[in-house]
Every structure is written in C-alpha cells, then in structure tokens.
Amino acid sequence: MRTLLRSAFPIEKLQRRAFGIVFVMLGLLAALQIAERVVLSYYEKNWDSVAAQKSTEQLEAVTREFVFVQRTIRQIASEVARQEVVRGLLLGKSSDTVRVFLETARLAERRDVGVEIYGGDGKLVAWSGRSGPVDPHDVQAALQGKLTSSVTRGPIFTHMFVIVPVRVDGAFYGAVLVRKAVEVNYPLSNKFIRRTGLSEQLSRALGVNVELSYGTDVEPRKDGRFISSVVYGIDGRTLGVATIPRLARSAFLERISGRFEKINTALLTFLIAVLSLFAYRRWGNHPSLWIRLVALTAIIWIVRYLLLWLDVPSRFFTMSIFDPSYFASKFGGGLAKSTGDMALTAVALFVNILFVVRAGADRIMRTALWRPRSVPVQFMLGSFLTTFVFLSLRGVAAVIRSAVFDSVFRFNDPTVIIPSFELGLMVFNIFVISFCMIMVATATTWYIVSMFETGDRTSRPPAVVWGMVLFLYVLAGFLFDVLQETPLVSPLFRIAFGVALIVFTFSLRVKKGQGIWPLRFSNAVIILGLSALFFYPVLEKAIAERDRERIEALARDIVRPTDTWLKYVVDESLHQFLTDNVLDVLLYGSSEEVERLAFSCWAMSMAGRQGYNCMFLLLDPHGEELSRFAIGEQTPLVGWTLNDVLEASRAGVQVQQRGSGVAAVRVYSGALPIVAADSLLAYGLVVVSASQQSLFRGEAPTVFRMSGTESLETFYRPILLSEFEGDSLLASTAELPLQYRLPRTATAALRDSPTGSVWVSERIGSKEYETLLLRRDPANVRVIALHIEKLGGQWHLFGIVKTMMYYAIVLIGALTVVLLVRRVKGNPYRLTFRDKLLIAFLGTALVPMIVIALYVRVFAAERLEEILSERLKQETSQVEDALNAASNEHEVSTRLRPHLLALGTKSDFNVYVGNTLAISSRPELYDTGILDRRLSGSAYAAIVLQGRRFHVETESIGLYRYAVGYKPLVREGNAMQSIIAVPALYRQEEIDKEVARTNAIVFGVYAVIALIVSLVATAMANRIAAPIHKLTEATKQVARGDLHVKVHATADGEIGELIRSFEAMTRDLERSREHLVRYERKLAWQEMAKQVAHEIKNPLTPMKLAIQHLQQTYRDKVENFDQVFAEVSQMIIRQVDALGRIASEFSRFGRMPHAHLEPCNVNDVLHEALHLFEQDQRVTFGKHFAPQLPDIPADREELRRAFINIIRNGVQAMNNQGTILVSTVSIPDGVEVRIQDFGCGIPDDIKHKLFQPNFSTKTDGMGLGLAIVKKTIEDLHGTIVIESTVNKGTTVIMHFPHSTDFVHEPTSDSVR
C-alpha cells in the first residue's frame, strides 16, 4: 500500500517547484491585500488633497482632449488648404470648381466632416458635408490671416469648426472651414444618429460625468460639488466650460478597489494556470488509463469553473462576445452565459474529449477494455450505451435550440453571407460541440461492435454483430421517447443518426490498418459532413419555432389594446413639459430656444423613443403657437386650437376616432398647463395618432425609432399585415384583392383556439405564406393576420451549403493551427501526391469560378445601380410633372401640400433653390436637423456647374447610405428655377435587402457548384493517387524488412508497369536476403566460435599457470605448500566456475531446448520476479496489474528469467535506487506487459545493438541477457519493444499472445 501511495504521489519530484510557485503566488496575493489596505488607508487619510489633485488631473485631461479635437480639425483644414486645386481656384489660376467640389466631397466623406471654402471676398465657393451657422466675422478674420475656431449648436448636433486662412507667398486668398459634430444634443439613437458625443466619450474614459457647455457667455458652475474650467479655442477665445463633479470618496475608493481586484483576479488566474499545469504533468502521464482520464477531466472542468467564478476573461475584456444581449443560457450554471463563455466551454469540452480519445483510443478501438461475454449483459450494456448516444444527441439538439432561442442571431437570414464575428463564434461553438458528440458516439459504437464480436464461447460472424448493433440503435431510437419527456428530435431522426454512426464506424474499422485516429483529416471531413447533415435540420427547426415565437410576441404588440398603451405614452410624454429645462427656457430663453422646445421635449420623450406619429405643441396662454414639432403622418396632427388644448388639459388623455373603415384614425391627446410660481407660462400638448392602415399601432417609419428597437418591420423576413372583420378584408399592407376572404378552416381553427391565435398556411397569388391569425376581440369579429412568405427549397439548400461553408472555415482554421504547431515543433506536414493533385484540381476548377462569381456579383451590383438610377430618373420626372401641374406656387410650398404631392407620385422629394432647401415632403427630417438644408456640393457641381440633366449620387447620414436623384426644374424660358431631389431614403432598406438577396442567390448557386466540384476533385485525386499511395506504403514495408508485401492495386500504363517492376524487385530482394541471412548466420557462428574459444582460453591460462606453480612448489618442497595448495585450488575452482558460467550462458542462448509450455499467469510470474528485488529498500515498485488476466502458454522458469533480466537492467540503470513501474493489461490478442524505469536511458546510437548477442554496456556481462530475453519472447510468438529517452528512462513493452497458434512476424524495428 505504501509503495502504491508513493508511486501515486511522488511528491519529491514536483513538490519543490510546485510549492515554490504556489507560495510565491500566495505571497503576492497576501501582499496585494496588504497593499490595497495601505493604499485605501492613505487615500482615506489624505482625502482632501487627493481629491483636489485627482479632480484637477481629470479636468486637465478634459481640456487637453478638447484641444486635441481642435488640432485634428485644424489638420484636416490645413490639408484642404494645401491642395493645389483649391489654391489654384482661390488664386484664380484655375476655374475647375467642379474638381474642387469633388475633391472636397471625397475628403468630407472620408473624414466625416463638413468642408467650406471661402474666396478672398468672403463668399462661399465650394462646400461638402454638413452645413451650420458661421459668424461672418470669423471668416473675415481668417481672410486676414487669423486662425479661428468656434462651437455652434444645431438642432441635433453641436459642431466644432476651425477656419484656416489660405496663404500664398505671404498674401491671403481665401479660407477653409472644417466642421465636425462633437456632441449629440439629445439621447437619440436611430438609423441616422448613432454618434457618441465628446462629453460621453470623455465620461467613459475618465469614469466621471463630464459636462461640456458651449458658448462664450457660459459661466463655471458655482456649486461646490463640481469643478469647472474654461475651454479655449485655437485662437484663445473662450468656447465654453468643462465641468466635472468633484471626486466622490466612495466612488474613488471603489475604483481603486476594483483595480486591485483585477490584479487579484489576474494573479489567481495565473495561479490556476500553474496549478493545472502541474496537475497535468503529474496525472497526465499516469500509467493507469482511468486515473489519467478522470484526473484530466477533473482538471479541465475545475479550471473552467474557476474561470467562471473569477469572471475571466470577460472581467478583462469588454467585448460583444461576452454580452448576454447577443446570447445567454443558464446551462451549467453559467458555462454558456455569453457567446464567448460558451466558446471557452466548447474548447474545454473539445480538449477533454481529445484527451479521452488520444489517451483511450487505442484501448477503446482495440477493444482492450473489459467486454462482457454473457449475451444478456451484452444487450443490457449495449442498450445503455445506445441510449447514452441518443442522450448526447439530445444534448447537442438542446445546445442548438438554446443557441437559437437564447440569442438574437439570425442563423439562416438569407441576406447574410458573411456572418458577424459573434454569429461566427456561435457557429464555431455548435460545430465544436457536435464534433465532440460525434467523436464520442463513434467511439461508443466501436465499443458496442467489439463487445458483440465475442459471444459466450465463439466469435460471432460480422453480419450478426452489425445486425445486433443496428437492432439496438433502432430499438433505443424508438424507445428513447419513453425516457425523455422532451426528446427534441424524432425517432426517425435518431435512427437515421444511429445508422450513419454505424456506417461511419464500419468505415473506420475497415480502415483500421491505416490508423484509427478519429482526428485524421479525412475522418474530420466526414464528421463535418455528418454534423452539417444532421444538425442543420435541428437548427432550422429551432429557427422556425423561434421565428414563430418571436412573431407571436411581436404580434402581441398589435393586438395589445393600444388605447391603454398609447394613453400611457401620451401621459408619460407630457412630463417632458414640466422639466426644469423647459421652465428655464420659457422664463429666460431666447425666441430661438423657445422655438426648439417642442423638438427637445419630443427627443427626450417616450413617444420619441418609441417612434410614434406624434406632435408636440406649446401654446402661450393666449393660444399663440410658441413651438411645434410633428413627425410621421401629418394630417391628424394639424388644426389644434387653444380650446382643444384647454379641453384636453381638463379631461386628461383622450381618444378620438376620426373617419371610418380603412381611413379611420385614432388620435390620443393630452395637454397640461405649464406653471411657474403661480404664473401660467404656456400649455403643452402631445398628440399621438394611429391609423387603421397601420392597424392602429401608431408607428412612424422605422428609421426614426431607437436603433435596436425590434418590431415587425425590422424582422429579417418581410411580414405583411392584414385586418379582417369576420372573414372580410378591412385593410392590408399586402396587395390583397378586396374580395379576398380568409379560408373557412382558418377562421374555424381560430375560433377553437384557446390562445386566441393560430398558424395556417395559405396561398396568395403565386406565393405560399405561413400566416398567424390573432383574435383582436373576444367575439372573434376582428382578426389580425400576419403573412410571412415561406422560404423556398433553394433557401434550405443555401442554408445547408452556408452551414457547411462555415464549418469548413472552422475546420480549415483548425487545420491551419495544427499545421503551424507542427511547423513550430520542427515536424512540418509534407504534402502527399494526393494532396498536391487535389490542390491542383481544386485550384484549376475553383479559381476561375470564383473570378466569374465575383464578376457576376459586380455586374449584378452595377445592374442594380443602373436600375435604381433609372427608377430615380423616372421619379424625378414624375415629381417635376407634378410640380409643374401644381397651379399655385404658394399651395405647393405649404406644409401639407408637398406631402400630398409625394403621396400622389409615391416618391418623397425636395426642392432646392440656389443651394438651400425650399420645399420638402418630409420637413421633419430637416426640422430635426437629421438632414442638411444645404444642397449637396457634388450635386450642385453636377447640375449647376456642369449643367447635367440628371445626377445620381450616394449620400450618407452617419453609417446609413442612400441614393439620391437630382434634376433641374426648368420652367419658362428654359431657365433653371430650382433643383428637384428624390432621395431613396425610406426605400434604402428594401434596396439593400434586394442587393443582399441577389448576392445570396449568386453565392448559393456558386457554393453548390463549388461543393460538387470539390467532391469530384477529391474523388478523382483519390482514384489517381490510390495506386501511388499503395506503392508508397509497400515501399515503406519493404524498408521495414517485409519483403512479402503485395501491392493490391490495379493500374494501367506507367503506374501498372511500376507496380509490376516493384513486385519483381521485392521477389529478387527476398531471394538475395535469404542468401545473405545464411551467410550472416555462418559468419555469426564463426564469430561465436572464436568468442567461445577466447572466453574459454581466458580462465584456462591462469589455471595452467596455477597448476604449474603448484607443481613447482611441490617439487621445491616449499614449507607453506599447504597454503599455496589451498590458494591455487581456490583459484582453479573460481576459473572452473567461470567456465561453467560461460558454458551455461552459451548453452541457454544456443540451446533453448524443449521449453515446457504451460498456462502461466503473467501477474504471478512478475510477482515472483519482483520478489527477488523487493528486499532492497532503495528500489520501489509501482505495480498496476490488470485483474482477471488471461493465462498465456509459456515456460514459467524461462519467462521469470526474462522478467528478472529486464528488471535487473532497470535497477542498474537507476544506480540501484528509485521507482520502477510494472503494469499488465489485457489486449485483444493476449497480454501486454510494461516495465518502466526512470534511469539513464539508452543513447540512440546503440539502440539497434541491444538485442545483438555479445553486446553489452557493462564491464562484467557477456552481452547475452537481452538477446536471450528476445529469443524467449519470440519463441512464445510474442514481441518486445524498447522505448527509451536518455536521462528520462526506458520502457520495455512486451506482448504475449493467448495462443501459440497466433502468427506474428517479429519486427526488426523493436527499439524506439
């Protein structure tokens, strides 16, 4: 027991290093704790001075950053001012104004700035990007050589600009202004506005709330809780005030503690890494497979949970992959609480399975594990294992479902080809987990097959074995539902999976001779295929269910009684009129500030965030409009009088219905008086309108909603909406004929549905739809229908191809890593003939195809642009006609008229006069400052300067890009009056989807072709390379000494000739070898005879001399003859003994007469051999003997001597002290014995001589020991292999067959 414990815990080897590092780490952790206390205590004691210093530092950082932003803008302005084309224009040397516009536009887009170029007279000559107010004095100052900067506040953005003079040879010819948005004035975040302001950026960076107030007259805050500093412009003017709150003690100390905690966590993580490494080194090489597997599994999962507990790595990295908004599951107590965490878990699982497979594959696959022979036990175990496989299958299905249901990922969005990083990582997770599952399931199937191969007494035929396995899989596949309440996959699916596993296992067993490692590339590719084939349907089913669930959830918003919700929205929004800011502006604000109040209240309100059609109105006590902002459908929002407002303020939030049927609109209104110090300042009114056409949902276009807001419109598949009364159509966003009726079966199903909703399939026109019907009222009179077009077969195919492509990318990535690791380790992978053929085929086939695909894609994009351009051209012409037809110019320019014109032409439009907006059908976009009122510079250049009749360009707001068509509006006398612009702003999403859809189709078709080409290329490469491969393998066998090799390949031509020549050559070689062996044997015996003679002569000479000496002393009658006689006799006896030993050794080597074979238990023989050595306390033995080891036929005495010889060698190699591990294990064909020492090892240059007679590294040996051992083992048809590393030790591995009938060719290469 003590020996076993010592072998299991050889503390002395690892303890010094491990304990040393652990103590250092623990010491560091303790020191960190002390340091934290000291630091916190220091800050506590000196808080006042620390607070002052830190706050000042923070404020200085703010002002520094402010200066830095100005410098950046100045650099851009200087860059523009240095451009030759700009200088040429300003100097009058060039009139290429168009080029200046184009260059400026490029720069403005690239740097996200607005650029203005002023001539020497102060007039604007070229521009691009956003406009904004500029003080003419600033421009004049620049023209006089002064550098100026300023900050101006717009409706949404606050801009900073810098003006630099354009100076040539000391004279000033113009000025360049560059403007950049530095703040977003309201908490808006929609498709257009996603910018983070400077103050927010600084707040995040410094960890305090930074407030930047702009203006020359802004004063620093007097409140003692804050500290302020004036921020200056580039010219030294005051631009505003930066304010931060004084550092709060608790916040600061919390932050310091947080930093210590991070270091603490980092140290703990390092400690875990060190400990796990030591544990791995200790347990990873343990001779017992089971202990090794259990220990490694425990290490991996303990480390994973410790990292989870420490919140590593998400504590250190703020990345989207650790954001639960993307994905989070409660599985395993947080093992998959984000995509990143799930990836770590998947990798841990993979490493775990990899260890299991690497450590246990040989035994599992060679059926060295215990196998029951009793048929009932075999069936019980087989049933258990097949159930385990299906349980694992269910586990993977559950992971896939969780990846779908607990995430926002759009796995099968047909418009997405290249996945986002987060989605890509999730695909990686699914692939790794399914890969692990298939590996484990294959190994399990292999074991089941091996188990069934042996019956009670005899081996079973293969057909019976595979039939039994198939029967078990089919049975378990059907009965699994009984065990699991939610099996997640159908019995048929399980059986198909089981059959695929059996086929895969069968192919692996057929290829057993080529290696059984499941991670061979070809096997990995098969697993990839299986994974895609079986798990994609699970994924698709989960997606379909999730889509339905999500649509049902979104649909709840529609049938949710909107009155309650919209009344609540109005009520909440009214509170914005009562903020301090509103009162301040009403009391002390300028008229401009008062005019902007309605907009600012909207921007801060719930109605604004939700993106409803609404109006915010401020009236003074006499009913005069102070401020008004409206967004969305305008009609119901106009015509509100003071009386209406007074009524609304008295009655609370009201609901009115205007119109009827499809034209019905519900208007939700609320008003309140705004009072300060008992004085009525104004009335505030909020109106939200919802029309029947939008099914009373009240939404404005999605572009105005908060980004990230999910709704039916943002769902990745288009959803059409209809409302029915009974089965008659009331309104629809689909182009349904008015006579369209709901199918009777559908209405009946809805009537019977307890949930008030039902899914039906319907056909509208030529398209198939999945439709969700919902009852809007309990009486089942009003029915809402959500129609979702069914995805066609090509999308499913595209989905599978896409999934396989993702998996292939993961596999190629993994392969690249493996190849790199091999290269780093100095063992680079060498391409085979087949690899080279495959690469050549794939390259030849795929490269032109990729080129064509890219060309088609570019062509398709260009074609789409052409179509879009053509459409915009038509639309601008229609708008031109409509405008020309409008009789009254004033009527056109009123607020409602353009909107109606746009409805008539179905195109939104703007009209510019000069370079300024005059009329717009979407005035709210300009009122809010989302779009610029100034005409785009490049459009001005094209239409006005170049005189084009039509111009189309892509413009952008932030990251949102859209196309705009421009056309001059020409009326009397062919003079251009104005410019019409038709932006595709609202349709851009639709256009983008169309582009993506085209891409998807192109990609899908080419991906399928690529797949077919790859399969054909692989098959061809395999066919061509197979004979070469077989020939290579045969050559290797010949090199190993096996001259009986046959190349089982049929080939014609040169390859066939080569194979025949090779076989003829091996036959010749075999004959030559036989001659050589005979000759060598003769030589060996001659050498042996010489050696024997020499060895015998050695003792004979001293004997002869001794006898002569004895004769002489006898003749001389020497006095001490008796003593001499005794000494000489002793010496002669010793020499005779030596002769006897020599004779015995040679006798044993040469004779090996008639071994007395008997059934021997190897464990018993080893015990006997070890007993001789166990008396020596300096040597310990770790014994790991397999129980119930089968007997082998052997001569017990010879076997014992062989073991003694090997053990003695081991003991001597360790200088008679240390540990020797001895283990036995049952293998399919017999018994394996391993004797391992940790001694000096055997140098490579003498390994090949170890079994040669007469070779020895010892001074007192004959060099016959190992030769005799080898002969003993080979006479038993066994094998012996010696693995040795210098200074690490030697392992002797012996295999003994059960039966001597076993035919085994001993290999010559038995020392590694």
Binding site: R560, Y568, E572, G708
Partner: protein
Amino acid sequence: MGFLILATVCSLHAQEQARDFRIVFDEIQHGFETGNISSFSSRFAQQLRIDLKGEGNRYCSANQAFYILENFLKTRKVLSFEFTNVGANDDVPFASGVVVFSQKGAKETSHIYVSLMPFGKGWVIAEITLY
C-alpha cells in the same frame, strides 16, 4: 339575485387576479432592491421585451434577460425603488415607477415600466423598460 351572485363572483375573481399580479410587481421591486434578479427571474416570459437606458427595445429570452439584468445591476447599486403606479387596463397589468441607482459614486434616477402578460393561470413579465 343571480345577477348579484355573478357580480360578486366576478368582483372577487378580479380582486384575486389583481392581488396575483401585484405579487409579481412586489417580487420585482424586492428583486431590484436587493439586486437579486433570480428572485423574480422565474416570472420572465419565454420571450420578453427589454429596454435598459436606451440600449434598444428588443426581445430576448428569459435566460438572456436574467444575465442582461444581472450585468446591468453589477455596475449599479439600487438606492431606492418604488412602483408609483400599478394598474391593469384591458387585461394588461403594468406598473411604472422610479428607481435610483448609484453608479461609480454618482446618483442616477431612472423610470421603470413593467408590463405583464397572462401565462397559464398566472402572470409573467412581458416587458421591462428603464428610461
């Protein structure tokens, strides 16, 4: 008489329902106050709407909601929480209130809106909006 009994039964049923959803709101309030999301996470609908301080109003699963709220409260300490308005019109119980956090030592006041939806015989949380 029959009408009176029916009216009484209906009234009692309505009171029972109201009590029922008030319990949910109480659990939410207690969970926020103690920073313990798991105390009411079992009340999450399978898919619920979450909008935290303008991060976007989107649907997520109950599991996601749990970790989103847990992460949200990891960086904030709730100083006070109160539902000031609890109501149920048109079968949609909702509650709105004010929650005061402390984040990095600075106080932060937010409004909260929570709505429920029926599930089985009880109520589950359909929407949580912090603004």
